[in-house]
């Protein structure tokens, strides 16, 4: 059960990020989580949204290149050491994480972590076997 993350390539230009987010704001689209990877030349804006396909379409209609990436979401109790446990589980299984970002919501007590791994199926199997809860697309839509 992968989560579809939407990514947008953002050039390192003044106002580029603001303009990109402005497209979502104008269309009244919600963001569940957001993370930005940046280098001196460019940034990659990664988002968890209620409807990835609709968001992609929206960007496309505005001439902005966006892509979908399958990521693994993990639900964890909002308490110290929880994320460390998740990473330890993956590390012991020899799974490396390309990037990671976490977010909390106001609707429940849990925190969520988004993990980009090579093999989502295997990573989720490992996490589930260790007693972690995998985030579902329904979770992403209904947060």
């Amino acid at each position: 059960m992968v989560i579809e993350q939407v990514s947008v390539f953002v050039e390192n230009k003044k106002g580029a990020l603001k303009d990109t987010l402005g497209i979502l704001a104008e269309a009244g689209m919600d963001l569940r989580a957001i993370s930005i990877a940046d280098t001196s030349d460019f940034g990659i804006l990664r988002m968890i949204v209620p409807d990835a396909d609709a968001t992609l379409e929206l960007f496309k209609s505005k001439g902005v290149t966006a892509s979908k990436t399958a990521v693994t979401g993990c639900k964890l109790p909002d308490e110290p050491g929880a994320l460390h446990k998740v990473l330890s589980t993956l590390c012991e299984a020899g799974i490396s994480v390309e990037y990671i970002y976490a977010f909390i919501t106001r609707r429940n007590e849990d925190a969520y972590v988004i993990l980009r791994v090579e093999d989502n199926v295997f990573a989720q199997y490992v996490l589930k076997s260790a007693g972690h809860t995998i985030m579902t697309p329904g979770d992403a839509a209904g947060l």
Partner: protein, 430 residues
């Protein structure tokens, strides 16, 4: 080995040189007598027709530029009355006026002969079924290819370009064995054949492609997708149209029809001939054409020439691929850089699109080059690592192809400005 015209194509270099000298003298005389702009040019250079006795005197003649032809629009450069002109073609001008090219009956005969040689060079015979998928019209590709096909006695199909589904139908129903079209259209047809899953049912064996630059990688892909062997053909309407030169089975350069067209390669700065193999400006002189005389026409394309014998037995010189245009040349830290070279590199790098902007600047008295490159559609840019690996790969390829260090900046697909005609590919801040 099969030749269309063995006597001409395999004559010794000495005989060829004598023939060229005789024809050049005649061509200069005709231009002097019948074409006022040429007469004015020759007079301005202090020349009389008698001063040109052979090819050794070629460097004395003034160069002709595209602007000279444009200034004469439409018929000012013709050397025959319109009653002798049997056809017109026009080259699409990227800016403003077109260049109009007229042909006499004799000129059309030369063209057909040259195209027949090209088709034969690539291995086509009267038993072939030749599908011409170049555009028919003012552009020379369609009719040029067409009459060449008929000249060798092949069954020639005037398919013209576009309507890909119908092209595929013709491949199947008519059993086409030879395909003439631009390399990009061949790629497109190849995609369509793959999607339709009909490669096994094709009879295609020879592809002859020109009118735009293409890479060896494209050649491989076209051959793989259409199951044929491809040959590069070259021509420009001012000189003739397709058929000025073509690859033989050796595919080691394009044999120039030197009994009709004299080729020179000149240093872009000094306009003096460069040694064979050294890149320089490609210059043609038409020694047999009647309607539109062309003396030392500087194409401003950058090219090389190889006059060593070819295993196919033809004595005609071979020109290399065009690698750029002097109009676009940039000098960066003393190195000549052509935008087309960058484009060639990008065509060969997976994940990169051939849309780019060269930003040249000077920092602490040193030239700097930044290349902004669009990612290919569908390139997975979600990981910083992948984007940076792509940048490094492009920088490395540019270094090895051009010999300059470039800073690569990736840009989103479609984000680099495209303009009509001549694309703005250079931002020089120096």
């Amino acid at each position: 080995m099969t030749y269309w015209n063995r006597a001409m194509e395999t004559m010794s270099r000495d005989e060829l040189s004598a023939l060229q000298s005789e024809r050049l003298t005649g061509a200069v005389n005709r231009a002097w007598e019948r074409c006022a702009p040429y007469r004015a040019k020759l007079e301005a250079a202090g020349l009389q027709p008698g001063d040109i006795r052979g090819t050794d005197d070629l460097p004395k003649l003034p160069l002709t530029l595209k602007d000279d032809l444009r200034d004469g629009y439409p018929y000012g450069m013709f050397a025959v009355p319109m009653s002798e002109v049997v056809r017109l073609h026009a080259s699409s001008g990227t800016t403003g006026k077109q260049t109009v090219v007229g042909y006499t009956k004799g000129d059309i005969g030369i063209w057909n002969e040259c195209m027949a040689r090209c088709l034969t060079m690539a291995g086509a015979t009267k038993d072939d079924i030749v599908q011409i998928a170049y555009g028919y019209g003012l552009f020379t590709g369609g009719l040029g290819g067409h009459y060449g096909g008929e000249a060798i006695g092949a069954t020639t199909i005037p398919a013209s370009t576009g309507n890909t589904k119908r092209q595929l139908q013709m491949f199947l129903d008519f059993g086409s064995t030879v395909l003439l079209c631009t390399p990009s259209y061949a790629m497109h047809l190849g995609d369509a054949v793959r999607d339709a899953g009909i490669k096994d049912r094709l009879k295609l064996r020879i592809g002859i492609h020109g009118a735009e630059p293409w890479t060896e990688k494209m050649r491989d892909e076209i051959e793989e997708r259409l199951g044929l062997r491809c040959y590069d053909i070259f021509g420009l309407s001012e000189v003739l149209g397709p058929g000025v030169s073509c690859e033989c089975a050796e595919r080691n350069g394009l044999h120039v029809m030197e009994d009709h067209f004299l080729i020179e390669i000149l240093d872009p700065e000094t306009k003096q001939p460069v040694p064979d193999g050294t890149p320089g400006e490609l210059v043609f002189t038409c020694v047999t054409k009647e309607a539109l005389p062309l003396i030392r026409y500087n194409t401003r394309d950058i090219c090389t020439v190889d006059r060593r014998p070819c295993a196919c037995g033809r004595s005609f010189a071979r020109m290399g691929k065009l690698t750029g245009r002097t109009d676009d040349m940039l000098i960066i830290r003393g190195v000549n850089v052509f935008p087309s070279q960058v484009e060639n590199v990008l065509l060969g790098v997976e994940g990169a699109a051939p849309y780019y902007l060269l930003v040249v600047d000077r920092v602490n008295n040193l030239d700097t080059l930044e290349v902004r490159v669009e990612m290919a559609d569908g390139f997975s840019f979600d990981e910083v690592r992948r984007v940076e690996a792509l940048e490094r790969r492009i920088a490395k390829e540019i270094m090895s192809a051009l010999g300059v260090t470039a800073k690569i900046t990736m840009a989103a697909p479609g984000s680099i400005e495209r303009s009509e005609g001549k694309a703005k590919r250079i931002l020089d801040k120096r």
